[in-house]
């Protein structure tokens, strides 16, 4: 398993994963479960070292709505690549709750999901790959345009259209006139 953050391979994960119910060490960056965070939020927020929360796919991101300024990492779990709940969670955390820290995809994460993950706001990936940086490059190369505005703040075609080509009547523009372009 390799960790990529903002497109760069990270040799060692600075966050130590703390199992459910286990004691949280006083020092060092930790990644705790939502249950641990909920039970100990006040004391964990006082720590000088970073705290992250691992959110399971059955857990609601709304539970972290008030915590986004206190967390340095939120990890969202993909129990299998077919489980797409965390794409919604990522958008809510980024767009609704205003989380700006590291948003990491963990679990069953591979090349073909990366494009969707980046577009919904993930910037870090624990990826099962021999060459994760190459995978990210491939995923980023696949598409240069998309229709939906989403968590990554990149411009979607629906917005670019109104910028690139202000509202115009296709009938006034031969290149856009359906009747002029029968063979396209």
């Amino acid at each position: 398993m390799a960790l990529v953050i903002d497109g760069k391979l990270v040799a060692a994960d600075p966050f130590v994963r703390i199992a459910a119910g286990a004691a949280v060490p006083a020092n060092g960056a930790v990644l705790v479960t939502l249950a641990t965070w909920t039970a100990q939020a006040d004391s964990l927020a006082q720590r000088s070292d970073p705290v992250g929360v691992l959110l399971g796919s059955e857990e609601s991101p709304a539970a972290l709505a008030d915590a986004v300024d206190k967390l340095q990492l939120i990890a969202l779990d993909f129990p299998t690549f077919r489980d797409g709940r965390a794409y919604s969670y990522a958008r809510l955390l980024r767009e609704r709750y205003g989380y700006t820290g590291e948003l990491r995809a963990v679990g069953d994460v591979q090349l073909e999901q990366l494009h969707y993950m980046e577009r919904t706001g993930f910037n870090a990936f624990e990826i099962d790959s021999d060459d994760p940086v190459r995978d990210l490059e491939i995923a980023n190369r696949d598409f240069s345009t998309w229709y939906q505005p989403s968590g990554d703040r990149r411009q979607a075609a629906t917005r670019l259209r109104s910028g690139v080509r202000p509202a115009q009547d296709p009938s006034q523009d031969p290149s856009q006139d359906p009747s002029q372009d029968q063979e396209a």
Partner: protein, 558 residues
């Protein structure tokens, strides 16, 4: 119709190259079948009994003659010379090779077509009224909203791994020709009290194992809000829909489990967060897209009553075709022509490459170079000059495409069934062929009148049997094929699910049972009652009695 701009074209081209990369990874073994499967499905590729099947989108059923010729070329070059039009207004090819698929998709992209999300657990091809833009009863052409929703749904990063597939249907008319009540989301345009057009939003309808007529989640919404409202529905479904059991994963199960009131509460709360955001439809963008759906250059003409009457009284066959296949147009002097793909004894929805080319030529000659696919697996020329009708009829007769049976008993919907499909329990095509043959005498067909017969080869209900006036469902009992009949289904604006008649019948007995049901209807009907009206009035008993009164009937063991 809509034409791609540089964004649409780039996206589709890039999607083709992405799939080429994925196919190469599959063929080299870098990608295993488990992980490749959802990728190929989201590019329209199924693995069937004998080969791969490729399902190509015909967005809301609209295509050009140029596109149809390309579909013919693909049928000839990459398949066995046929295509099969489906209830999602799409076309399927049944004999596709995996390694050739990227090339096929590139050939489609060159004519602004694609197979994106024609399968998979994502938003599927959006279907619509096949008379959109031309129907007399239409409030507004729904295609502009369909296209906006199409773009919104394509490669949507949040909703490409939904719990299960997701189907939308849209109608701009009070008469529902798009079966919106049996879709995951159905949008039905109507006027509010102030006389403004908007959509009733219906959610959680569907067929399959658990057929459900959808429930109204919102009575009326301004069209500018439909994308955000659809996003709210999808987000709640994506987060709360079941993922532990694929047979319980459709949105209808979630809506039923929560109850429509609770589901509405969740959706409305979500929608209130996003309704004024980036998804609110920019009027300039709606105008840009709407410009593609402006009416063609109609000539100013009067309706041709006398001339057509003369031709009709001179020729019974032309008269029968006019009566069942030709529909009034909103513009005087024009008619809507349905092209039946249900000739007696033929496979419903199939069309050969040669006939596709011929139909494309006729579309150029008679209907501004465009045509539609209907969810009942027929084709439609929406804009035919009435003065051309007799010529067009003769041309269609030569192609065996003038069967006068639209909306009648032999206009049967059938899924591919066990002849092709890996999911099927039974062969639906032979049943459809037998029944079609039985009604091939035009007199009986006309006498019976409006009657929909829908055949599915398994409980996944691709043949829409639940909403056929007569539904036929193939089941497997200890290795033998049986067919269960249902009566009283309908997919129109008064949608209902069929009631099961009783134990299944073997294939050989189905046509005779249908005959007895139809004869019973003819005996019982009052005035000009349709089959559905008679059934709703008299109920199941008289029909059940004639299906099972014969001691020799070889019933499926209960």
């Amino acid at each position: 119709m809509y034409r791609y701009d540089e964004f649409d074209r780039t996206l589709v081209d890039e999607r083709v190259e992405q799939f080429r990369r994925q196919v190469e990874a599959r063929l080299s073994g870098d990608l295993d079948e488990d992980r490749f499967k959802p990728l190929r499905l989201m590019n329209g590729l199924y693995l069937q009994l004998h080969a791969y099947m490729l399902r190509v989108n015909v967005p809301y059923g609209c295509m050009s003659s140029v596109q149809l010729r390309r579909l013919a070329h693909i049928a000839r070059t990459y398949d066995k010379g046929f295509g099969h039009f489906t209830t999602r207004q799409n076309i399927q090819y049944n004999w596709i090779k995996l390694e050739e698929t990227p090339d096929i998709l590139a050939e489609l992209a060159a004519v602004e077509m694609n197979a994106m999300q024609s399968s998979g657990n994502c938003v599927r091809n959006i279907t619509a009224d096949h008379y959109a833009g031309c129907a007399q009863d239409e409030i507004q052409d729904p295609r502009v909203w369909c296209e906006i929703l199409r773009q919104y749904s394509i490669l949507n990063p949040e909703f490409s791994y939904l719990p299960r597939k997701f189907k939308l249907a849209v109608t701009g008319a009070p008469r529902d020709r798009a079966a919106v009540a049996v879709h995951d989301i159905g949008l039905r345009m109507h006027l509010n009290d102030a006389g403004e057009p908007g959509f009733e939003v219906i959610v959680g309808g569907g067929q399959g194992r658990t057929p459900v007529v959808g429930k109204t989640i919102r009575e009326w919404i301004e069209p500018e809000h439909i994308v955000s409202y659809v996003e709210a529905i999808l987000r709640i479904y994506n987060m709360y829909g079941r993922r532990d059991n694929m047979y319980k994963a459709r949105i209808k199960i979630l809506v039923n489990a929560l109850g429509i009131d609770k589901y509405r509460e969740l959706v409305e709360a979500e929608w209130n967060e996003i309704r004024e955001g980036v998804l609110k439809i920019d009027p300039a963008e709606a105008e840009r897209i709407d410009a593609y759906f402006q009416p063609p250059a109609y000539e100013h003409m009067e309706n041709l009553h006398a001339e057509l009457e003369a031709l009709r009284s001179a020729d019974d066959a032309f008269d029968a075709w006019m009566r069942s296949n030709v529909v009034a147009h909103k513009v005087a002097g024009y008619s809507i022509v349905n092209i039946s793909l249900k000739a007696p004894g033929k496979i419903p929805g199939d069309l050969s490459a040669a006939k596709m080319d011929a139909v494309a030529d006729l579309a150029d000659e008679h209907s501004f170079g465009e045509l539609r696919v209907s969810h009942r697996q027929n084709l439609v020329f929406t804009d035919v000059r009435q003065g051309d009708l007799h010529t067009l009829w003769q041309q269609l007769c030569e192609l065996e495409l003038a069967t006068p049976n639209i909306g009648l008993a032999s206009d049967i919907i059938a899924c591919p069934g066990l002849d092709y499909c890996a999911l099927a329990n039974a062969r639906s095509i032979p049943i459809a062929q037998d029944i079609g043959q039985y009604f091939s005498g035009s007199l009986k067909l006309q006498q019976v009148g409006d009657l929909t017969i829908n055949v599915s080869g398994c409980m996944n209900a691709c043949g829409h049997h639940h909403v056929g006036n007569i539904g036929i469902l193939g089941v497997d009992k200890r290795g033998k094929e049986f067919f269960q009949l249902t009566l009283g289904g309908s997919s129109d604006e008064h949608a209902s699910l069929g009631d099961r008649v009783g134990p299944g019948l073997p294939q050989a007995e189905v046509p005779a049972a249908i005959e007895r049901i139809v004869d019973t209807y003819l005996e019982l009907r009052e005035a000009d009652e349709r089959f559905l009206d008679t059934y709703r009035r008299v109920g199941m008993d008289p029909f059940r009695a004639v299906v099972y009164d014969d001691d020799t009937t070889d019933k499926e063991a209960a």
